[in-house]
């Protein structure tokens, strides 16, 4: 395997923070190298260093035999697709391609031939006259890829190409990139999705700017062989069982996966006593280890274990019946129907996930249910209140945590809590007791007087959740709460959410992130403004079990559902 890129002791510091420290690795020709890690791990910095957008502070970097100083020699050999694809949205597909061709100095004959190949390859031939801004996420991604491929690079750098794109488009992209790798191109694919690492030929796992592991993903995952099991769970107390399991000394990782508990054992440990843990006739079935399992066990060897969150008392159980009900919820923006007659209901203590690609209408649905947007038609009830009639009353019963954690960065943790409790109208003894409760149960005492903006991501996330819970809401809305955070943080977060749900809080989550969806009791698949399917994650996967695919993932199910829906629509259109 000839090395296209060789990195030795590479380091980069921005001001006081080290973005990358001592990275030594090679990237091989004809291979897809997954650059994997949570947000802030240093993936983008590494890609920018390779692309020549940044100069390294320490170490050396060699591309196709040229050191950094001979950067100009390899400029035409590198194709780079930045995050959000780097397209001019007010230029058409063809104009975007023309610009790239001009920049790479391609003559008329060459560009004609390459345009034809690439347009056909990406399926964009019919859309050359369309503005890039009016393409769907998947099509933008393909156009970005076509632009990066135009100079026929020997090295293709893709920065989170699959973020926010629906799984079907994501698969299509893999197919294209796989073909490119077959022609000898070295491809670097950066991603926060750990499952994508499994499909790469090799991987570089970054965390906190350091290279944690690298090599062949199968070898990496193989280390976990014989240590991963699925245990059936009873209907009740699943989250409590998960919390107990996670705290056992023999268990490296315990997560809820639909109706099962997925256990990852520590090296050399035996299965815990299932009868005691789960009760009755519980049995453990071995299951295939995943990349994430290896990552989690690696992280745990590295870090002190996260303290198990305290059981959260003090949550009020909401009234019996239905916590959230949407009936024929519709929202138009001009002539565009963003949400089209969406109906569903959520029971108290249930976690419902709205899953769908960006632009499918899930955020719009979400905003209507939080009372941030009025529906064009249909009705919504939250916590027993009609949002159309008593929006203010409904808001008092709703907690909301956005993806960006709406915290005041230059206020201390305590000031933030104080501020938000004031916003929610808490006063007197209730206010001080709720703030004390939040600091206590979210382990914030040690950082209470530090500025919120200076805290690590995990603390910010806890504080944001704490703020959303100050007024003891019956319904909690979460907007992509754990996309891009490291797997340990995600586990900690969801274990708290599980505890809340068992205390009777109803949780509605939006996500385009499969790993997040696994934590939900029930899923609604939102696609092109419609709710095309709903059910438990297990039931969805069950529908797509085949002989070749005995253990379909949620993504398999998602892609399958969308295909079925598209086929149905085409059938209806034909008839």
């Amino acid at each position: 395997m000839p090395a296209t890129v060789t990195l030795a002791g590479l380091g980069k510091t921005f001001g006081m923070t080290a973005a990358l420290t001592d990275v030594t690795a090679t990237i091989g020709a004809g291979q897809i190298t997954g650059l994997v890690g949570p947000d802030g791990a240093g993936k983008t910095t590494l890609l920018r260093l390779i692309a020549g957008l940044l100069a390294p502070d320490t170490g050396t970097l060699e591309i196709l035999g040229h050191p950094t100083a001979e950067r100009d020699a390899v400029r035409d050999e590198i194709g780079y697709m930045p995050q959000r694809f780097g397209l001019y949205e007010d230029l058409t597909v063809q104009e975007n391609l023309n610009l790239q061709a001009d920049l790479h100095d391609l003559d008329a004959a060459t560009r004609r031939e390459r345009f034809e190949t690439l347009l056909q390859f990406t399926g964009l031939a019919r859309f050359t006259g369309r503005l890039a801004g009016q393409l769907s996420g998947g099509m933008k991604q393909k156009l970005g890829l076509a632009c990066a491929l135009l100079p026929r690079p020997k090295l293709l750098l893709l920065d989170e190409p699959s973020a926010g794109v629906d799984p079907a488009s994501r698969r299509e992209l893999w197919r294209i990139v796989r073909t490119m790798a077959g022609t000898g191109v070295a491809i670097v694919w950066s991603t926060a999705y750990l499952d994508e690492a499994e499909r790469c030929d090799s991987f570089l796992l970054l965390d906190g700017g350091r290279l944690l592991a690298s090599g062949n993903p199968a070898d990496f995952t193989h280390r976990m062989q014989g240590r991963t099991f699925l245990v059936g769970l009873p209907e009740q107390q699943r989250h409590r069982i998960q919390r107990i399991a996670a705290s056992l000394p023999s268990v490296a990782d315990a997560t809820i996966q639909g109706r099962s508990l997925r256990l990852v054992l520590k090296e050399g440990s035996a299965l815990p006593d299932l009868a005691e843990l789960v009760g009755g006739d519980a049995t453990a079935h071995p299951t295939r280890p995943r990349f994430e399992d290896a990552f989690v066990s690696l992280l745990q060897a590295d870090q002190p274990p996260v303290p198990a969150p305290r059981v959260q008392e003090g949550m009020t159980r909401s009234a019996d019946g239905i916590a959230i009900e949407a009936r024929d919820l519709t929202r138009d923006f001009g002539t565009f129907r963003a949400v089209d007659r969406v109906s569903f209901s959520v029971k108290p203590g249930e976690i419902l996930g709205l899953l769908g690609p960006n632009g499918a209408g899930k955020s719009t649905t979400f905003r209507m249910l939080c009372g941030l947007l009025s529906p064009s038609a249909g009705s919504a009830h939250v916590a027993g209140v009609d949002l159309g009639r008593a929006r203010a009353t409904a808001r008092e019963r709703i907690g909301y945590m956005s993806q960006k954690f709406s915290l005041y960065g230059n206020l201390s943790v305590r000031d933030n809590l104080d501020f938000f409790s004031g916003v929610y109208g808490l006063a007197g003894r209730r206010r001080s007791s709720r703030i004390a409760w939040t600091i206590e149960s979210f382990d914030l005492a040690a950082v209470a007087d530090l500025e919120a903006g200076s805290l690590p991501l995990g603390f910010k996330q806890r504080l944001a959740l704490g703020c959303a819970l100050l007024h003891e809401p019956q319904v909690l809305f979460l907007d992509e709460p754990t996309s891009g955070v490291d797997p340990l943080m995600r586990r900690e977060f969801w274990s708290r959410i599980g505890g809340l749900a068992e205390g009777g809080v109803t949780v509605l989550v939006t996500s385009h992130f499969m790993e997040e969806a696994e934590y939900c009791d029930r899923l609604g698949i939102v696609y092109a403004g419609r709710m095309i399917a709903s059910g438990s994650p297990d039931a969805m996967k069950q529908r797509f079990v085949t002989a070749e695919l005995p253990e379909p993932t949620l993504e398999d199910a998602f892609v399958g559902l969308i295909r079925e829906h598209d086929a149905e629509r085409q059938g209806a259109a034909a008839a």
């Binding site: 921005f14 920018r48 692309a51 020549g52 957008l53 940044l54 400029r75 035409d76 590198i78 780079y80 697709m81 930045p82 995050q83 959000r84 694809f85 780097g86 397209l87 001019y88 949205e89 007010d90 230029l91 104009e95 023309n98 610009l99 790239q100 061709a101 001009d102 920049l103 790479h104 100095d105 503005l131 632009c147």
Partner: protein
């Protein structure tokens, strides 16, 4: 070294992109062509340094033909609307209420003293000094009215003029002393500063916001080519803005133009490059359109309004403030435009200004290119 053909293909591609974006996105056109119209009309009509129809009190303790004549003299100018008061106290009360801007006091011996060859008449002028600038203007006008009346009065009486020297005022370059003639060329300079800086600051910030700048930087195009593409495209648009501004100045405000059109276009082009480069420089620190717009207003609008000589005479500022004004390019353009409009192509004034502007253009462009190159860091 790249070949000329490669350069032109790349540069042509970048330029084409900029023009397509200008056409598709109306915000640039709005800034370049609509904003000058709105600003010039609003500020041009809003700000006037002339005193007109000033309500003015005449305290007539004399009640003579002479005092009535002076009253009439105030009434006959377009600058004053006189009101008669019987006592100083009544006039003071009216001044307090803001009913009048000031008053003159004609003592009971006014008519006698006016004709007295030995003891000249003294007239008290009281003016509301809160707005110092306005007070000075009103005082000056009032003195003028009195002096003119006195002169006519003595001539009527066929008495020899007592003072051995008389001053005859003649206002050069702006004989009607219309402040509009002086302000509008300055306003054009201010508007050009703003649109130049806003245009480039916003479009580059937009490229950062949308992630396209990163894609450009990773391409074989050099930073200089990318910025030059922006400069050329928005230069053309900015010249359009200049045309609109000059047209409004000449047609709507009827400001005379005494210089040469070629020199106007030449100096304006240099200044446009200065302000476009200023926008590029702003964009190296402002990555969002919002911050870019704020910064552009702060570093262009405010200094151009206050420290350029557009509103306030630089010569009469304290020395250290005068020193501060030298670092704002608008000052040199304001002076150039005022000269071109009101005086003509006066090279001794224009050349030093032009030299400073060329210096600024080179400095800002070099800084912008050097800073953008390192801006991903």
């Amino acid at each position: 070294m790249i070949s000329a053909r490669t350069f032109f293909r790349r540069f042509g591609g970048l330029l084409r992109k900029e023009f397509v974006q200008i056409v598709r996105d109306p915000s640039s056109i709005a800034i370049a062509l609509v904003m000058p119209v709105v600003l010039l009309l609003l500020i041009g009509f809003g700000i006037s340094l002339d005193a007109r129809n000033v309500r003015f009190g005449i305290v007539d303790e004399n009640r003579s033909v002479e005092s009535a004549g002076l009253f009439q003299a105030f009434a006959n100018t377009p600058y004053f609307r006189p009101f008669s008061f019987l006592s100083s106290r009544a006039a003071e009360a009216a001044l307090m209420r803001g009913d009048i801007e000031g008053f003159v006091v004609l003592r009971s011996d006014f008519s006698r003293r006016v004709t007295d060859p030995v003891r000249a008449a003294d007239i008290a002028i009281v003016v509301n000094g809160v707005d110092a600038n306005n007070a000075r203007i009103v005082t000056g006008y009032a003195q003028g009215v009195v002096a003119t009346w006195l002169l006519g009065h003595r001539r009527d009486r066929a008495r020899p003029v007592l003072s051995p020297v008389t001053v005859e005022n003649r206002y050069w370059f702006n004989p009607e002393i219309r402040s509009t003639n002086f302000i509008v060329p300055g306003l054009i300079a201010m508007v050009m500063t703003m649109i130049g800086a806003l245009l480039t600051a916003l479009v580059v910030a937009r490229e950062w916001e949308r992630g396209t700048m990163e894609a450009m930087l990773a391409s074989p195009a050099s930073m200089t080519e990318i910025l030059l593409g922006k400069l050329v495209a928005y230069f053309v648009l900015g010249l359009g803005g200049l045309g609109v501004s000059v047209f409004i100045g000449l047609v709507v405000f009827e400001v005379p133009f005494r210089g040469s059109a070629e020199v106007l276009v030449g100096i304006s082009s240099v200044f446009l490059i200065v302000s476009l480069a200023m926008g590029l420089l702003i964009s190296t620190v402002a990555r969002s359109q919002f911050v870019a717009a704020q910064l552009a207003f702060l570093v262009t609008f405010m200094p151009a309004l206050i420290l350029s000589g557009l509103m306030f005479d630089i010569e009469s500022m304290p020395h250290w403030v005068q020193a501060v004004t030298t670092v704002f390019p608008a000052r040199y353009f304001v002076s150039s435009l005022q000269t071109l409009f009101l005086a003509g192509t006066v090279w001794p004034v224009l050349l030093p200004n032009l030299a400073m502007l060329v210096g600024f253009a080179i400095l800002f462009l070099a800084l912008a290119i050097a800073r953008t190159r390192r801006s991903l860091e």
